[in-house]
Structure formats: structure tokens, C-alpha cells
């Protein structure tokens, strides 16, 4: 092989693969619209993207798995947390996390209400991008390891409503587990589910309760479909009678709601 041969190898190889690369780029352009739901890129989403860039979010967080590795991935965050939570969180992150307890906390970015709305719109759009089903299992900000029974949730093929309900609880969306632990005393964002059935029974008999539920399963169902019907007092649970939890009626089929109720009603 002479220098002339190797030069030919370089020139031809590079040209051929550059041509293929450009061809695939053109083809990708024809698919971007459909894969990213480009029709949903409203001026608000674009404004939210500017907030994302101007506040340098990507140098702590990752989005679609890209960015820095100092803070959680936000690809599916709007599906996990819902708008009410994110709004409250962005106003003052230190309300939800402390450096002493969690090791890290997000500094207050001092966003205006409009900027918060915009960036949530942007993240909502991102969460719907067709990205080959990544992440393969939900990445959550904070959650203890699922206990042994939860590991069995995947084998819910039995048709047992409790097992099916547990599978829904561990799935994302709705990602119940990313805010509610099932261990007594562990508060992630919302109240722990440990003892929920017993507490519900006491609560609906109490005069402070103004909701419509008459039994513990009723109460659990009401909390899933209309979280603000009764807001449990707690620093991160809600504000001004408004729960931070999104109503899940639109995300879940009616039978899935019943399965969740059946599962949660076992926490006595």
C-alpha cells in the first residue's frame, strides 16, 4: 500500500460516509415533526425553552438524558409531579428539600409566575417526545427502594385486583410511588400510604372533613380523582386548600382506579 492508496482510502471513505450522514439527516428532518409532536410547540413552549437555557438548567439536570449529572433527570417530571407541585416547588425549592437532609438542594431561581408556567409547558412538551421508550423504568427524584412485595408487582398477571393495583402504583405515569412511600414515617412529597385505610376511616368521621366519602375505599377513590377535596395538612402537601397532586382521572382507566383503591385499602 502506498501513500496514494491510503489517501484514496481517506478521501473516498470520508466522502461516502459524509454522504450517508447527510442523507440520513435529511430523512430525520422529515420525521422530526411527527416524533416530537412539533405541532404542540406553542409560543409558550418556546418561551419555556428560553427559560430553560437562560437559567442554565442543563448544567445541573439532565433532559432526555443529556446535561450534567448533579441533579435529577427531568424528561418525565411533569408526568410524575404534575403542574401544581412543580409550580409550588419552583417558587421555593427549599420548602421541599433541605441540604442537611438530602445532601443537595436546588437554589431558588427567582422565576416569575409566567416563567414558571412557560418552563412547565416546555417540560410537558418534552415529556411527550417519542424517544424509544426511554427511560426503561421511571427515574424518580426521591424514593426508597420498593419493598419485597413490590418486586412481585410485575407478576400481577394473576388478575388479583390488589396485585394489579400495586403494579399501577409502581408504574409511571401516574408514578404514585415517586411522592408517596408505603413505609410508615417516610414522607417523600405527599403523605405516606402506610395505614391509609385506618386513617381514612377515622378522618371521614371527623368534623374537619368536608368531602363526600363515606367509607375508607370511597375516601381513597376521592383522593385519586379529586385530590383537593380534602388536603391533609403538611408542609409539602398543598397550599390554600389546593393539593399539589394532579387529579389522575384522565391518566387512569376506571378499572385501574378501582385496582389502586383495592391495593391502598390493604394498608390498615
Amino acid at each position: 500500500m502506498t501513500k496514494r492508496h491510503t489517501r484514496l482510502f481517506f478521501v473516498v471513505g470520508t466522502s461516502v460516509f459524509a454522504a450517508i450522514f447527510l442523507g440520513l439527516t435529511i430523512h430525520s428532518h422529515m420525521r422530526f415533526g411527527e416524533l416530537t409532536h412539533a405541532e404542540a410547540i406553542t409560543p409558550q413552549v418556546i418561551a419555556g425553552k428560553h427559560v430553560w437555557h437562560r437559567k442554565n438548567c442543563i448544567n445541573c439536570h439532565t433532559l432526555l438524558g443529556e446535561g450534567a449529572y448533579y441533579a435529577p433527570d427531568l424528561t418525565k417530571i411533569t408526568q410524575q409531579r404534575g403542574e401544581a407541585y412543580l409550580r409550588l416547588f419552583l417558587r421555593d425549592p427549599s420548602r421541599f428539600y433541605s441540604e442537611q437532609r438530602h445532601g443537595r438542594v436546588m437554589p431558588n431561581m427567582k422565576l416569575s409566575d409566567e416563567q414558571i408556567t412557560d418552563v412547565i409547558a416546555f417540560l410537558t412538551w418534552v415529556s411527550n417526545i417519542d424517544n424509544q421508550g426511554w427511560p426503561p423504568r421511571p427515574i424518580v427524584v426521591s424514593a426508597a427502594l420498593p419493598d419485597a412485595t413490590a418486586a412481585n408487582a410485575a407478576t400481577a398477571a394473576s388478575g388479583d385486583p390488589v396485585a394489579l393495583g400495586e403494579a399501577v402504583f409502581r408504574r409511571s405515569p401516574p408514578a404514585c410511588f415517586s411522592c408517596h412511600s408505603t413505609t410508615a414515617g417516610t414522607v417523600l412529597v405527599g403523605p405516606s400510604m402506610a395505614g391509609i385505610a385506618t386513617r381514612a376511616a377515622t378522618l371521614i368521621a371527623d368534623s374537619s372533613y368536608k368531602g363526600a366519602a363515606r367509607s375508607a375505599p370511597d375516601y381513597i377513590r376521592e383522593s385519586i380523582l379529586n385530590p383537593s377535596a380534602y388536603v391533609v395538612p403538611g408542609p409539602t402537601f398543598g397550599a390554600g386548600g389546593q393539593s399539589v397532586m394532579p387529579p389522575l382521572g384522565a391518566l387512569l382507566k376506571p378499572e385501574e382506579v378501582e385496582q389502586l383503591v383495592a391495593y391502598l385499602a390493604t394498608f390498615k
Binding site: S28, F32, R54, N56, N59, C60, G103, Q132, A144, L145
Partner: protein, 454 residues
């Protein structure tokens, strides 16, 4: 130094090394923030220190590349540089743009696009500098009517570096499209045209250090850059995993990324051949260390550790974890930091007008081994942290914050090994700025006249 105007390289090396030192400060600040409560959170949060750390890297490595080109092109074309004044002016503008960007980040002036955070006016200044640089060296070669393969590859690499920076000036409303073109700059730089630059500098150094036949080296240089683009162009696909582009990029990324290590294996083989024929007899042993080190370390960091997570079914779990900086740190160090330090080490004695065989090498060797050892340790610390993170967070489903708390010990290792690395950098700077001139044993009048303006 055979041509007076090669001296232009010296201030470039000075700026590059000062920024290298500054990069360490922000690297250590960033890693300290992994250890828990951050007293500087309101003054200098992680996003700022990290952006400065990575931007300084890009700026100083490019400064080093430019310095290396100003050193190499006159020698290869056997002529004086077209315009030294223009080269100094370009350096001034470049440094101003770089410093403005860094100070801007401290005050929140950023485009917030990973690695391309430079605000638009700074980006435009960078483009102007690149044009000045290419014009100056282009004219030099044009006037000399002599273009060697080595400098041709180097100049092509630098010209494409400038061209590929242009997509970063565009804004896209669609975030996925923005990601797509961001990698045209970032990936096609570091896994494309910068490898041309590395390959060319490696060829130049091996020819000089080993005395091997130029024809042989340049023949294989074409093979190396050919392989770079055959694997690297479609290898861009490994950055297109899971970001909203068509799924055919996944198998393409897997296949062509698997070919990418070939380039680095070829570079190592190249260095081995050169040295085997001539032995390690060149008096500049430090430059030999850095040159061979670059060939070997880049095979590990850029080649093998990149391969470790570019297969789509693996990357599905490692995407966006600390596995990425494991590869990133070792790849950048092996391929680009070491090659720039090799050129600087090779050129310094001539630039300073002293005899390299008289040179004291103890400090320089400590600088070399502390950096190599420190970087190896950092790579291992990132790997251990990353594997822990993937298993706990991605596979088992533990929360992000709980996982980060569980892998704290690896962050301690990162601080320790990063400190060793920084000590190596400090020694390198000490050697460059304070030791080299003192060992001057013999100054040729021509070389003395060419000593640095300021």
C-alpha cells in the same frame, strides 16, 4: 527553533496553560459540591462552576491547538509566518472573548446550551479569531508553495473545527432538532476533526522524536483520519439515542461506535512502530512521555471506555449517568490534553533557547505521572460511582437523591484523585514558567533575538 516567527507559539502556550490551571480550580470546586452542603450555593452554584470548568477546557485546548499550529506550520512549510502581528491580535481577541465568557457565566450571562454556553457576541468573536487564524496560516502556506501531509491534515482539522462551530450560532424552536445540531459541533469536533488534529500532531512529534521516515508516517496518517471519519461520522448516532430522533440511529450508533476504538488502536500501533524502530533515544524524554502517553491513554479513555457504554442496549441504562463523565474525562485528557502538553513540552526548549539534553526532568516527570495517575484514579472513581448509580437508580428503582447519598464514598475518591491530578498540573505550570528558562545553557543569537515580546 528554525524560524523566528515560530515564537508566536509561546504566548499561545502561556495563555493555554494559565487557563488549564484555572480549569482545575473550577473542577475541584465542582466536585466538592458533590460532597454535600455547599457553602457557595448562592454565590457560585454547581451549574456555574461546571460550565466554567468545561468551557475553560475547550478554550485552552483550542488555544493549545492554535499555538501548536503556529509552531508547526512555518517549520513544515519552511518559511516565516505571514503575519505575526495578526497572530498576536487574534490571541488578544481570543483571550478577551474567553475571559468575558467566564466572567459572564459568573453573573448568569449564558446561552445555557451544554458546552456551547457562550452568548452570541462571544461566539461571533470566536468565529472572527478562527478566520484570522486560518487566513494567516493559509497565506503562510500559500506563499511558501509547500504543504506537507502532516500540516495539511492539521490545517484541515482546524478549518473544519471553525466550520463545525457555525451550527452553534443557529437557534431552533424544536429542542430535539437543537440537540441534533449541537452534536454536529460537539461530537464532530471531539470524535472527528479534533482527531485529525491529534493525528497530525502525533505524526509531527513522532517524526521529530524518533526520526522515522516521513513517508511511512504520513501514509498511515491517512489511514488514521480515514478511519476517524468512517467510524466517527455515523458514530454521531450514539448521541442520538433516546432524544426523539428516528430509531435507526440506534443500531447505526452501536455499530459505528464499535469501530471508533480502531482509530486509537491505530494511533497506538503507529507510536509503537515509530519508537520500536528508533528506540527512546531523543533527549527530550518529557516530550516522549507525553506523546506516547497520548497515544496510549486515548486508546483507553476515548476508545475502550467510550465503547463501554455506546451499545444501545447498555446505554439504555447508563444514559445520563456518571458513566458519561467517566468516559468524558479520560477521553479528553488522553486525546487532547496530553497531545497539547506534548507539543508544548517538545517546543519549549527551542522556544526558550536552551539545550534539551541539559534539562532537569524530575519536576516534569512528576507532573506527568501525577496527572496520568490522578486521571486514572478519577476515571475509576467516576466508573464506580456510575456503576453504583446505574444499578441502584436505574435497575432497582431507588430515587436519585437516595442513590447519590449511597455513592458518596466515590465522590470522596474523586476529590482525592482530582487533587493529585491538580498537583500534577501545578507542577507542569511550575516547570514551564519557572524552571525551563533557568536551565538555559546556551543561547543562539538568532534564538535570543526571537525571545518572546513580553
Amino acid at each position: 527553533m528554525r524560524f523566528r516567527t515560530q515564537a508566536v507559539a509561546y504566548p499561545y502556550f502561556v495563555v493555554a496553560l494559565l487557563l488549564y490551571g484555572l480549569q482545575m480550580v473550577f473542577g475541584l470546586l465542582s466536585v466538592a459540591k458533590y460532597l454535600g452542603p455547599d457553602p457557595l450555593i448562592h454565590l457560585l452554584p454547581f451549574d456555574v462552576s461546571k460550565a466554567i470548568h468545561t468551557n475553560l477546557l475547550i478554550v485552552w485546548v483550542l488555544t493549545g491547538f492554535m499555538g501548536a499550529a503556529y509552531w508547526l506550520v512555518p517549520e513544515e512549510s519552511r518559511t516565516e509566518l505571514h503575519s505575526p502581528t495578526m497572530a498576536y491580535a487574534a490571541l488578544g481577541l481570543w483571550t478577551l472573548a474567553g475571559v468575558t465568557a467566564v466572567v459572564g457565566y459568573l453573573f448568569g450571562w449564558t446561552a445555557g446550551n451544554k458546552l456551547l454556553e457562550q452568548p452570541l457576541p462571544v461566539k461571533l468573536a470566536i468565529v472572527v479569531v478562527m478566520l484570522m487564524f486560518l487566513y494567516n496560516l493559509g497565506m503562510t502556506i500559500w506563499k511558501a508553495k509547500r504543504l506537507t501531509t502532516t500540516e495539511g491534515v492539521l490545517m484541515a482539522g482546524l478549518a473544519f473545527t471553525a466550520i463545525l462551530y457555525l451550527p452553534s450560532l443557529l437557534e431552533f424552536d424544536n429542542y430535539t432538532v437543537a440537540i441534533f445540531y449541537r452534536w454536529w459541533t460537539v461530537h464532530l469536533w471531539v470524535e472527528g476533526v479534533w482527531e485529525m488534529i491529534q493525528g497530525a500532531l502525533l505524526a509531527y512529534l513522532l517524526i521529530r522524536l524518533s526520526g522515522i521516515d516521513r513517508e511511512v508516517m504520513e501514509k498511515w496518517l491517512y489511514v488514521i483520519v480515514g478511519l476517524t471519519f468512517i467510524s466517527g461520522l455515523l458514530g454521531t448516532a450514539h448521541h442520538y439515542y433516546f432524544v426523539g430522533v428516528p430509531s435507526y440511529w440506534l443500531p447505526l450508533g452501536g455499530f459505528f461506535s464499535a469501530l471508533e476504538p480502531l482509530v486509537f488502536v491505530a494511533m497506538s500501533a503507529y507510536a509503537y512502530q515509530a519508537i520500536r524502530r528508533s528506540g527512546l533515544s531523543h533527549p527530550n524524554t518529557l516530550a516522549l512521555h507525553w506523546t506516547l502517553g497520548s497515544a496510549i491513554f486515548s486508546a483507553l479513555g476515548a476508545g475502550l471506555l467510550g465503547l463501554a457504554h455506546t451499545w444501545p442496549s447498555v446505554n439504555r441504562w447508563t444514559h445520563g449517568t456518571l458513566i458519561t463523565p467517566m468516559h468524558g474525562h479520560s477521553a479528553f485528557f488522553g486525546a487532547y490534553v496530553m497531545i497539547v502538553l506534548a507539543v508544548i513540552t517538545y517546543a519549549t526548549p527551542a522556544l526558550m533557547g536552551h539545550d534539551e539534553s541539559q534539562r532537569e526532568t524530575r519536576t516534569g516527570l512528576w507532573a506527568f505521572w501525577l496527572q496520568v495517575g490522578g486521571m486514572f484514579g478519577m476515571t475509576m472513581a467516576f466508573a464506580a460511582a456510575g456503576i453504583g448509580q446505574v444499578y441502584l437508580e436505574r435497575v432497582l428503582g431507588m430515587g436519585y437523591l437516595e442513590t447519590q447519598a449511597k455513592i458518596q464514598v466515590h465522590f470522596l475518591m474523586l476529590v482525592a484523585t482530582g487533587t493529585l491530578f491538580t498537583a500534577g498540573v501545578a507542577l507542569f505550570l511550575w516547570d514551564f514558567f519557572f524552571l525551563a528558562p533557568r536551565q538555559r545553557t546556551h543561547v543562539e543569537p538568532a534564538a535570543a533575538a526571537a525571545r518572546m515580546p513580553a
